[in-house]
């Protein structure tokens, strides 16, 4: 099993979710995160004090996938999350050794 983590623009989240649903991927866990990278932030000024905000809102998707689905999911995300501008985010893949469904204690790919 593979864990896919995608950090994407909040504004693309709805279309990514829709695109994934179309290819039959439903299970995912979503976190609001803030990202730091090449994308420039912005400046805020409160009573003359300037703050450079270089942590920008991003959405992190986490999905544990059976190996055979990984490529398709990656492609789908790439397509639906891309705006072509700096800050579009990353996809990371890593191995997961076990998955267990709490409800019925199913294990492995059946649990996804």
């Amino acid at each position: 099993m593979v864990k896919l983590e995608a950090i994407i623009q909040p504004s693309r989240f709805e279309s990514v979710k829709d695109a994934l649903r179309e290819i039959g991927v439903e299970g995912m866990t979503v976190t609001e995160v803030r990202g730091h990278g090449r994308q420039k932030g912005h400046t805020e000024v409160y009573r003359g004090r300037e703050y450079t905000v270089d942590l920008l809102p991003k959405i992190k998707l986490e999905m544990v996938l059976p190996d055979n689905l990984v490529n398709r999911v990656v492609d789908t995300i790439l397509k639906s999350a891309k705006t072509g501008k700096i800050g579009d985010g990353k996809i990371f893949l890593s191995r997961v050794d076990e998955a267990i469904r709490i409800r019925n204690e199913e294990r492995g790919e059946n649990a996804l």
Binding site: S11, E14, H42, T43, E44, V45, Y46
Partner: protein
Amino acid sequence: MKCAGCRCSVSLMVVLGTILLATVSLGAGSLAAEQTPTANATTSLLSRKVSPTATVLLETPEPAQKVSEKLAQLDQRIAAAQSSADNAWMLVSAALVLMMTGPGLALFYGGLVRQKNTLAIMMQSFALMALITVMWALVGYSLCFGGNGPVIGGFEHAFLRGVGAEPNPDYAGTIPQMTFMVYQLMFAVITPALITGATAERMKFSGTVLFMALWFLVVYAPLAHMVWGKGGLLNASLGGKFPTLDFAGGTVVHISSGVSALVCALYMGKRVGYPKQPMPPHNLVLSFIGACLLWVGWFGFNAGSALAAGSLASSAFVATHFGAAAAAFGWSAAEWIKNGRASALGAISGAVAGLVAITPAAGFVGPMPALVIGAVAGVVCFGMVTKVKAAFGYDDALDAFGVHGAGGTIGALLTGVFAQQIVNPIFGAGKAVGGLDGHWGQVGNQLVGVLIAWAFALAGTIVLLKIVDLLTGIRVPEEHELEGLDITQHGEEAYNLET
């Protein structure tokens, strides 16, 4: 921690103790008898007493000449007392109407937008509190209430010349004109602020400021003068050709802003992602507070429009409250029937719709018709906002048209139906006022007023939008819209909750 508390308590006790010691020598009696004993024990706090200087004049029987002088004096003092009473109410009313814009409307709208646009929409209301006030002082009051032309006032009160402690008997004979002036100002502030509900989440701040300044001059001032100004075309009591009943601003405030809001929404186009992307209100608690403050403030708006603290104010107060309640009821019932649930957003939206609709009627109808007007407005505005908007597909983001345009129009027409001479004999003693009173022609008059207000708002707004679009631009670039107006227009964020 506890130690600090102890030390603080101890020190505080020392302070209070010292005070006690210092005063105990004064024999400050028992707790239950700290009132000064008065000579005559039967005189209580209940009986109002008069300062001696006031009664000293009247000790012996007087010759006729002196009686007459005294009568004249009393007469003046009565007028002064009456003026103070009315002024007390009108100053409170002015404060209440300001509270409707800030924080009332700012919160109502602020809660309905997405988080990234919260400050921007609130700032628009606040900027109008500053901008319109300054313009009002320079020229606005004069344009609205300064002359007696049929369409617009003059410059006689520019820079508030001649506006002082004296009443302006044309408008409010018992209160200082200062009071009347500042009370009317509060209406001029909130009206353009209502429009920002339609343009929310995408209008440039610079464009907003310029547009509103012009709109106030070109749309608001003439309409206010026509309906409320001496000699105005639609004025019902000061010689208008088409006597339109508008107690507190159904046409001047709500139709003008609501219709302009629709034009703005059409001109600007939809928000990026609308209607596909969900854009739920980011904080309904704010909207709830805002709606409640609008309700409370509206008593100043409507009952204050009696311009005195007499029974007409009471009647308008009651009608206002009943209209709001019935409309909240109506909207909620409609929603419950349709969705199986009544929502808080529905209830507060209904209340606002009812307040809008009862505005022109408040000083003309009794409590039962107020319930009817409210209930009708609640149901109709529910339909406008949920059905009509979806059918036509315009993006009136926060339903400024759906509530104020529609509610104002309904209210103006129903005023023609339900107005009663027994409540307000505006056309003279014994003359029927509204339709059910026997004067169905008034519905026609109301229709004329409504049409003129619609036409004025439509035409003025379109022209101004084009001008402002050329000068400063109207809509922010798409990436700014996505990032949010708070950061891109104002350089700040509403919430910085991370530690």
